[in-house]
């Protein structure tokens, strides 16, 4: 048989292309992805798109309703708040802060959590059990509460609230990674790789990680939605982002004062937070079924 193979370069999609194809087949997932990409776009390009400076106070344009109401004007798409700041620009910048910091928080928590979890999963013995049980105990406390406690110790402010939420999210990454790695280590194919001479690091990178991605996607999206809600919650409670930094929760809080007169100041930030979490969840779900289809057709 000749070495020349007619079919060699024809369509052999890489794993990511397989996943993308499976993902595309669900229309809901694509809609969710579109919304999520919109938020990502705002996170990066808010300064270019926002019509006004979010902290600019126009005393002549107080509490103007959004453009679709009879009194509204197109100059302020979503209206203004009690201090005359354009709500649309504030929302754009707010998305930037909320979404951007959530993303950062989750990435750091994932890196730290997965590292600790993998080490704990590969080693066996008393030490790993103790670490595991302590962290599991921490998981019983709601993340928001842990975050508030940490902020109480460190003081309020956006950076401190970021640290707080990162620390609150680490235990669940550790827990899931550890149980996953432990389960994998018992499997025959890992044993055969060990017989081939793979070190623990090589085992992790080549053999365990490809199987772990599905779990990481699930946990990651879960953590991202928790992070968004927690950062907004801390902002709302004035423990996180401090005025005048626009952050969706903080915007919601300031909108509360004039709530009856100008409900759009509460509704619109609320809807943004809702859409953000919804799109994250939908995309996470779509990714998970796409990954499962790739492995399990």
């Amino acid at each position: 048989m000749s070495r020349f193979s007619l079919y060699d370069d024809e369509a052999h999609p890489s794993p990511w292309q397989h996943t993308w194809r499976a993902f595309k087949s669900s229309h809901i997932a694509l809609v969710g992805l579109a919304v999520l990409l919109l938020f990502v776009f705002f996170a990066f390009f808010a300064p270019l798109v926002a019509p006004y400076n979010p902290t600019y106070q126009n005393t002549e344009a107080l509490l103007i309703p959004p453009s679709w109401a009879p009194n509204g004007s197109i100059a302020h798409l979503f209206g203004t708040d009690a201090l005359g700041r354009d709500l649309f620009s504030r929302i754009l910048y707010g998305c930037r802060v909320t979404f951007g910091t959530s993303l950062l928080v989750v990435i750091i928590a994932m890196l730290v959590g997965v590292t600790i979890g993998t080490i704990a999963g590969m080693l066996s013995g008393v030490r790993s059990s103790v670490v595991n049980h302590l962290l599991d105990a921490l998981m019983a406390i709601p993340t928001l509460l842990i975050a508030i406690i940490i902020v109480g110790i460190l003081g309020s402010g956006l950076v401190n609230s970021m640290w707080a939420i990162t620390l609150a999210l680490i235990p669940q990454f550790v827990h899931h990674t550890r149980s996953f790695v432990r389960g994998e280590m018992k499997k025959d194919y890992i044993q055969s790789s060990t017989l081939d001479g793979a070190s623990n690091l090589q085992l992790f990178y080549y053999s365990i990680l490809p199987n772990m991605i599905e779990m990481l996607v699930v946990q990651g999206t879960l953590a991202l939605s928790i992070a968004v809600i927690d950062i907004s919650a801390l902002g709302f409670l004035n423990l996180g982002a401090q005025a005048p930094l626009p952050e969706l929760g903080a915007i919601l809080a300031t909108g509360l004062d004039a709530g009856y007169l100008a409900p759009w100041n509460i509704a619109i930030p609320g809807v943004s937070i809702f859409l953000m979490v919804l799109s994250i969840t939908i995309v996470g779900d779509g990714l998970r079924s796409a990954l499962r289809k790739r492995v399990n057709r």
């Binding site: 194919y189 081939d196 080549y206 991605i213 790739r294």
Partner: protein, 271 residues
């Protein structure tokens, strides 16, 4: 008749006292002595819990024996516990295939990556060379070169068995160890696998040690048979000798129950 494998005094000890926070080891195996010549097929038979799987794992290097050592050609063969010694020695001389093939193939990576692993870790070949060798090995076991892009779930049982075989023979080993390789296969696929192994043995001079309950296959392909019970080798010898003139009680029991299933043989137990 070059001797390829020399096992002496292999022991696995049973420790009854409970060490702090560790479970007691419950099985005592050995001491085991064995010699294997090039191209020979040895079958290990015995009842369940007689230590066959443990012996296979020790021979492959997955379990560290408490005493004794394994000699592959001239060098000593180390188990996984001796990482440093293994780095310098040749660890690809003895390869193992497991019972459940779907468990022994990683579902998250392609066949190409699975086969690349032993080469990447144990040889200094360039990527092009590795790819060529993988393609050749796939053809040798009866698959196509294009199978390097496949995942485990795209392959049938028989094909998964061939992938495990390919992974085992890639680094050109001297000894292949298999723990019940035919148990989970359908009859026609089993015949194909047996034929494949016989052919590979002829081509590569591979010694094959396997555990099986299927005494029909054992009688057909094994040169020698080792019978184990309660962790000891109770009898060993040429296949026909064991099947026609079994000496030990346990061997007699095994052979007679096998003969009773074949109506034309004369040794049938009265009901």
């Amino acid at each position: 008749m070059t001797k390829v494998l020399n096992v002496s005094g292999l022991t696995f000890r049973h420790s009854s006292k409970k060490r702090w926070l560790k479970k007691p080891e419950v099985f005592a195996l050995g001491p085991i002595d064995m010699q294997v010549t090039k191209g020979e097929t040895i079958a290990i038979i015995g009842q369940n819990r007689s230590g066959k799987s443990l012996l296979a794992k020790m021979l492959a290097g997955a379990v560290e024996p408490d005493e004794g050592h394994i000699q592959l050609q001239e060098e000593r063969y180390w188990s996984v516990k001796h990482r440093v010694a293994r780095k310098k020695a040749d660890i690809t001389g003895i390869r193992m295939i497991f019972q459940h093939n779907s468990e022994s193939i990683n579902p998250g990576i392609t066949v190409g990556q699975i086969l690349d692993e032993p080469l990447r870790l144990n040889s200094s070949m360039a990527e092009e060379e590795r790819k060529a060798l993988i393609g050749d090995t796939l053809v040798k076991v009866g698959l196509l070169r294009e199978h390097i892009y496949f995942y485990r779930h795209m392959l049938s049982d028989g094909q998964q068995q061939r992938v495990s075989l390919a992974k085992a023979i890639l680094p050109d080993p001297k000894v292949l160890i298999a723990d019940e390789p035919f148990a989970a296969l359908d009859p026609t696929i089993r015949s194909q696998t047996v034929n494949l192994i016989l052919q590979l043995q002829k081509e590569m001079g591979l010694a094959f040690i396997f555990i099986s309950h299927n005494l029909g296959i054992v009688r057909h392909i094994a040169d020698r048979v080792i019978v184990m019970d309660k962790g000891q080798i109770i009898e060993s010898g040429k296949t026909e000798t064991i099947f026609r003139w079994p000496q030990h009680e346990m061997t007699k029991k095994l052979v007679m129950s096998y003969q009773s299933l074949i109506p034309q043989q004369t040794m049938r137990e009265p009901d």
